[in-house]
């Protein structure tokens, strides 16, 4: 009986893993194919002049190292200022975040600062965003985390998709700003490339479910208010919102050209804290939405399948661990009821080879399309983040299950620390390009430096003159 249960478990987990393998390859091949089409025929931009009013929400808690950089950048955006409202939610900061934001509010009348103190403060990002939503007047709500640094024309790129009434939310691309800092930031940058350039873009072009990432993205205010704002009871409020948008009959669009730089976590400890929060949040969303996704009439079959796979994504490292735990004793015991030895070994060989390669190839092709020749050499090291994620996700699942069993919804929001180390790469980049030499910028070759300048640098005219 035990062997039969183990075999059944093994078959289910193997099927799941193989499904993800196929998905990874499908996404990679789709992007490669699309890239060739784009080269042959660039997409026409029919909605270039659609400019709705926007409210930018910036939740910030102890972000004095980075908030000034973002707020300054907001003032440089090319979107018409009369259509912009900026709401900074100072969520009980004990540093100078509030004071810096107040300074900007004095200089620019489209800035509003919300100071949250006492019991209302520090209850997580969703809570802070809801406080900002109460004051928002724009048709579209755009969210930025305090450590982000957007392109000058990012609002134009994000908002034009809303000319389609079926679009409920949009998501832009996140790129790591402090990538050259250390091994953690370099590996996070690779993960981001795979996640956005391949995963998100492929889901968008295949008509599946691109994920609203909670930052560098926008939502229709009317829809958001109808849905009751952000759900404060889940840790992954962005993932939750993605599914609520789809269940309400709207779509999420991913715009790869709308780039924004972020300051990635700089230590393994911060990496673990951040991924643990994401994993736990996604698992909460799975339990909240899986049944609604199956029975929803607003989702087609492809969206349902992709939706379930997306909800399950942080369970995958746990399933891989389970497959090892179950598969190995099955092989050693050799007491198969339903399966013969080759049929047990073959799936293990398949998913531990092709399955393990799939994410590597996805990230590799993403890095190639991004023109990142040096980054490729770090690909084999992603095996460490994969193994680390097995540990993190297993811990998160244990926590979610304990919370479910005890009824104690312990949603402590562990905030990611931002050091402001990203500032120097922007400054270096400007200086280097102004002096005609990208190699001093600290960023990988000319390509990244150029990309940074193209996306964000303040003195773009100097840079342009320098490289042209």
């Amino acid at each position: 009986m035990i062997v039969e249960i183990l075999e059944f478990l093994f078959l289910v987990v193997t099927a799941l893993i193989i499904t993800y393998v196929v998905r990874h390859y499908l996404f990679t091949i789709t992007i490669l194919r699309n890239q060739h089409r784009k080269l042959e025929k660039p997409a026409a931009d029919d909605n270039a002049h659609y400019e709705p009013s926007v409210s930018i929400l910036i939740p910030a808690r102890n972000e004095e190292q980075v908030i000034g950089r973002l707020l300054h950048r907001i003032t440089e955006l090319t979107y018409p200022k009369e259509k912009m409202q900026v709401i900074v939610i100072n969520d009980g900061s004990s540093d100078n975040t509030g004071r810096i934001a107040d300074e900007y509010a004095k200089m620019h009348n489209y800035f509003t600062i919300v100071h949250r103190k006492g019991e209302t403060a520090g209850r997580g990002k969703a809570s802070a965003l809801n406080a900002g939503l109460n004051l928002a007047e724009g048709e579209i709500i755009i969210c930025f985390d305090a450590d982000y640094y957007p392109q000058e024309d990012i609002l134009e790129k994000l908002t034009r998709e809303f000319s389609d009434p079926r679009v409920g939310a949009v998501q832009g691309r996140v790129t790591v700003l402090n990538e050259p800092l250390n091994m953690v930031t370099r590996l996070v940058a690779l993960e981001r490339i795979g996640g956005y350039l391949i995963d998100q873009q492929a889901r968008d072009s295949l008509g599946l479910i691109p994920q609203f990432g909670g930052t560098v993205g926008g939502l229709r205010r009317s829809l958001l208010e109808r849905m009751g704002g952000w759900d404060e009871s889940v840790l992954a409020e962005d993932m939750d919102l993605t599914f609520r948008v789809y269940l309400a009959g709207y779509k999420v669009r991913y715009i790869n050209e709308a780039e924004c730089y972020e300051e990635a976590v700089e230590s393994w400890r911060d990496y673990r804290k951040q991924r643990y929060r994401w994993a736990k949040g996604h698992m909460q969303c799975f339990f909240k939405h899986w049944f609604q996704v199956i029975k929803s009439k607003n989702l087609n079959i492809r969206e349902k399948i992709d939706g379930l796979l997306l909800l399950n994504i942080y369970f995958m490292p746990v399933w891989v661990l389970l497959s090892w735990i179950v598969g190995v004793p099955l092989i050693f015991s050799k007491s198969f009821q339903w399966l013969s030895l080759p049929w047990t070994v073959a799936p293990i060989a398949f998913y531990s080879s092709v399955g393990n390669f799939a994410p590597f190839f996805e990230v590799g092709i993403g890095a190639y399309l991004d023109g990142r020749s040096r980054a490729h050499r770090l690909l084999p090291l992603l095996i460490f983040t994969f193994l680390y994620n097995i540990f993190i996700c297993t811990k998160a699942l244990t926590s979610v299950l304990v919370c479910k069993l005890t009824g104690n919804n312990n949603n402590h929001w562990s905030k990611t620390n931002h050091t402001g180390n990203g500032n120097r790469y922007i400054t270096n980049c400007v200086n280097s390009l102004t002096h005609g030499n990208c190699s001093d910028s600290g960023l990988e070759s000319n390509s990244v430096c150029h990309a940074a300048v193209r996306s964000c640098v303040v003195h773009v005219h100097h840079a342009f003159a320098c490289v042209s």
């Binding site: 091949i29 490669l32 190639y368 023109g371 490729h376």
Partner: protein
Amino acid sequence: MVDVRLRTYHMVFGISAGAMASCILLLIPYLDVESSIMLVIFNFLFVSLLFPLQGTLLKKLSLLLVGNVIGWAWNSVFSAFANDASGYFGENFEATYMIVNPFLNLVWIVSFWSLSLATMSMPRKGGAFET
């Protein structure tokens, strides 16, 4: 259209070369079945993900050939080691090797592929100020 036609032509050549290499590997009696299968998987992945990229056909075919040689050498060494060790440690080692073998291959396949990608990397357009 020239670009797309060229890549299709590369893919056709790549698939043919990969299939030929796979057949040869499967017919070599010296290599065990698991290792041969890993090399067939490598050929399939390498052709499907590298041949559609920019670069000359000669470069891609050379990389495919080098990959097969490295893979063959790698698997030959480990197969020989596994054969000797299973004689010493018994059947349990064989089972362990079956499980570990794909991970051992992961080391060279991912490394070789990532280096190949680095050599194939798209040259940045001068100035790179596409808007």
